[in-house]
């Protein structure tokens, strides 16, 4: 039994952190925060050069054949950097195609997703429900309906859509004829928008239902949140060591110290839950449905609290636009609402546990 990443995986994480510190410092992030549809194509290309988008796809599909676990560490680093790229959306969409698509479908779509050439997004609001309707039309299917907000829809050129086909919810892929209306995100570092289908052609993925695909998305967002929260805690602890009030670093006051200790507790519990959720979806464990609901419910509430405490400890300085703390806070609060909030996932737990 070994419930932790390997030293090699941590090396990858450390490399990713160094890469992002150099290539995606806050100044880079801030180039895009006033632009509703802006995101960093430069960074995306560099990430593609490193093979990040293909990390968790098999080699024969153009990926690097690593586990989903490796990607969760990467997601954490991208969260830490609040990187302005559609990585999470495209990854989740690709993973849904990988888990629900036929071999032919995988071959058709995944190599370009794995190379970063094609940007996909996952069109879903909560992981259990279709958001639009699909109906048969001639040889194929068409989608109708409007939904949102959808993460990184403005950046996407391929849409993996949870649609109701008359019998149940399942995944469809649409490439053309999708109308996207960009929206102003609370998280300014990523794009978001409404998505409308007015008879757009779509193809159903061969494996029906929304799970296990939607679980991957939930696990992914938890992994990202943990990375953001780690950055918040690191920043807060560092600040508390240098910021002086009453002639002493504020980090020497017990009230601040105890808050930070509580934040670390929330973070380590969240990290454990996100690790487990990632592991469980990777191997499709028996308790995967429960594990992702546990992780998302806990991370949403605990890490939103942690983020609030980070702002509080910073005091006035974090209340400025110039300080980066609000970028992390906005990311955490957005992720809290993404793919179902704590209340939603607790209700899932209640049902799964037979309450």
């Amino acid at each position: 039994m070994e419930f932790d990443f390997t030293p090699e995986q941590y090396t990858l994480r450390d490399e990713a952190r160094r890469f992002l510190e150099a290539q995606c410092p806050p100044s880079h992030v801030r180039e895009f925060i006033d632009d509703e549809t802006g995101w960093s194509r430069d960074l995306w290309k560099r990430m593609a050069d490193l093979g990040w988008m293909g990390l968790a796809f098999p080699e024969d599909l153009g990926g690097l054949g690593q586990s989903f676990g490796d990607v969760t560490l990467l997601l954490g680093e991208l969260g830490r950097a609040v990187a302005p790229v559609p990585f999470l959306a495209s990854l989740c969409a690709g993973q849904v195609v990988f888990r629900h698509g036929s071999v032919e479908q995988q071959r058709r779509w995944l190599p370009s997703v794995a190379s970063g050439e094609r940007i996909a997004t996952i069109v879903i609001v909560t992981p259990d429900a279709a958001v639009v309707n699909a109906s048969a039309s001639g040889d194929g299917w068409v989608l109708k309906g409007e939904t949102g907000p959808i993460l990184d829809a403005p950046a996407a050129d391929m849409f993996v859509v949870a649609a109701h086909d008359g019998e149940g919810a399942r995944w469809f892929v649409a490439e053309e004829g999708v109308r996207v209306t960009p929206q102003l995100g609370f998280d300014r570092t990523r794009t978001i928008g409404r998505v409308a289908f007015d008879g757009a052609a779509a193809e159903p993925l061969s494996v029906g239902g929304l799970e296990p695909g939607s679980r991957v998305a939930v696990a992914a967002v938890c992994a990202e949140m943990v990375g953001v929260a780690q950055k918040i805690l690191d920043t807060t602890v560092e600040y508390s060591k240098v910021r002086e009030q009453f002639g002493r670093p504020i980090g020497s006051f017990q009230a601040i110290k105890h808050k930070c200790a509580e934040m670390l507790t929330e973070l380590e519990a969240s990290r454990s839950a996100a690790f487990y959720a990632g592991w469980s979806v990777d191997g499709d464990a028996d308790d995967a449905a429960l594990a992702v609901a546990v992780a998302k419910s806990y991370c949403s509430e605990a890490l939103a609290h942690l983020a609030g405490e980070g702002v509080q400890i910073h005091g006035g300085i974090a209340f400025t636009w110039e300080h980066d703390m609000h970028l992390y806070l906005r990311r955490i609060k957005s992720d809290e609402a993404l793919f179902g909030d704590a209340a939603f996932h607790r209700e899932r737990i209640a049902r799964l546990a037979g309450l």
Partner: protein, 400 residues
């Protein structure tokens, strides 16, 4: 215990209501951008001023209405109930600078500065916080060196509302470098048109610039613009701060009640798990808890008012009230974000109710940080109310 109003108080209430009805546009909606708010409040507060509502708490001898505490409460309540705008651009003048000058200024200063505040001919800002004097306000470093008949001011202030539109600044600065931290401070009344003052808008967490940083570089201030006595700034500052929480507590409660009503109607129309948030297990109980907390804010306010009427100052309930309502507001605003579901990922006009939950949530941090952070409040409560021993030096003992 008696919660009824007298006939005179009820008549006063009718007068306020009638005035609001006549003067507030019936379709009035709180302007959403800071600039719009500023423009509206200029006109609105002029109106208040012209009708004698600006300084209702000010003594009659200084041009105010000399309203009783109950009348002040009634006035603020009615304004809140009508969702009329709160005093904004003239807030510092009416509630902070004015009372401080009235209490600590010379007779000449009173005559010179008070009337234009009431008439809104002169707008004020206050220069208090500095980057290194947040919770530790006695650590003010902006220096004013006395040279014969004038002071030369150098330094930086932060979180200065209205600095870019203000005519005057109530400036807390260090006039004695050698005295103990809180003893070398004085108050200057600074003409904002003086050379050497550079107010720069400070973009806050919401993306709007409601505040400013103000840089002073060799700014000359005539000696007669010293408020009261030299070296008394710390004492006077406590007057200013004590006026920051006025008898407006009950009115604030009504404004938060408006927020809660908005929250409830959002909850009724937003589906979670296929049911309105009001029927969802998680949100139904939280909404009810928010409702209870808000009611209790009113009861706390009623006790505070009673204490002030009896003893001239709030009792124990007053010392905890800021801690209570600031965290109540944070929870309520966060609940607002939660209730709106996936819309919490949006902002501004794209979000539910024009982004008011996002803005309200972000602004709620101001409540627990500004005007004495929650941590400072807890220090004060434990030491001054509960009499617990000082263990860590966190503030000069002399702070009132």
């Amino acid at each position: 215990m008696e919660l009824a109003f007298t006939a005179e108080e009820n008549a006063f209430r009718e007068e306020v209501r009638a005035w609001i009805k006549e003067n507030l546009p019936p379709d009035f909606k709180e302007p959403r951008s800071f600039e719009e708010r500023l423009a509206f409040s200029r006109a609105w507060e002029k109106k208040l001023s012209a009708s004698g509502w600006a300084g209702i708490a000010w003594p009659k001898e200084y041009g105010g209405r000399g309203a009783t505490l109950m009348e002040q409460i009634i006035f603020h309540e009615e304004m809140a109930r009508a969702r009329a705008p709160q005093i904004f651009i003239n807030f510092v003048g009416i509630n902070l600078a004015g009372p401080t000058i009235r209490i600590h200024g010379t007779e000449e200063q009173r005559k010179r500065y008070l009337p234009p505040i009431l008439s809104m001919e002169e707008i004020w800002c206050q220069g208090f916080s500095e980057p290194n004097a947040g919770s530790d306000l006695a650590n003010v470093q902006t220096r004013a060196d006395l040279r014969d008949d004038h002071f030369v001011v150098n330094g930086q202030k932060i979180w200065t509302s209205f600095a870019h539109v203000a005519d005057w600044c109530l400036l807390l600065c260090r006039t004695d470098q050698s005295a103990a931290k809180h003893k070398g401070l004085s108050y200057l009344l600074v003409d904002m048109k003086s050379p050497g003052i550079d107010p720069r808008p400070l973009k806050q967490i919401t993306g709007e610039a409601e505040f400013n940083e103000v840089f002073f570089t060799d700014c000359v201030v005539p000696r007669e613009n010293l408020l009261g006595e030299l070296g008394m700034g710390w004492t006077y500052a406590n007057t200013t701060l004590s006026h920051e929480r006025g008898p407006a507590f009950l009115a604030h409660q009504i404004r938060y009640r408006n927020t809660l009503l908005d929250l409830v109607s959002a909850a009724k129309t937003t589906l979670h798990d296929g049911v309105p948030a009001t029927e969802h297990p998680a949100y139904r109980q939280k909404l009810a808890a928010a409702y209870a907390e808000l009611e209790i804010m009113r009861y706390l306010g009623l006790r505070m008012v009673t204490s002030i009427m009896r003893n001239g100052r709030p009792g124990t309930e007053g010392s905890v009230s800021k801690l209570y309502w600031s965290h109540m507001v944070r929870r309520m605003q966060e609940l607002g974000l939660g209730v709106t579901g996936a819309s919490a990922m949006l902002d501004g006009e794209d979000a539910a109710n024009h982004g008011s939950w996002q803005r309200g949530y972000m602004m709620s941090f101001a409540q627990t940080i500004a005007a004495g952070s929650s941590e400072i409040q807890k220090n004060i409560i434990s030491e001054r109310v509960l009499g617990m021993p000082r263990g860590e030096v966190w503030a000069p003992k002399e702070r009132v």
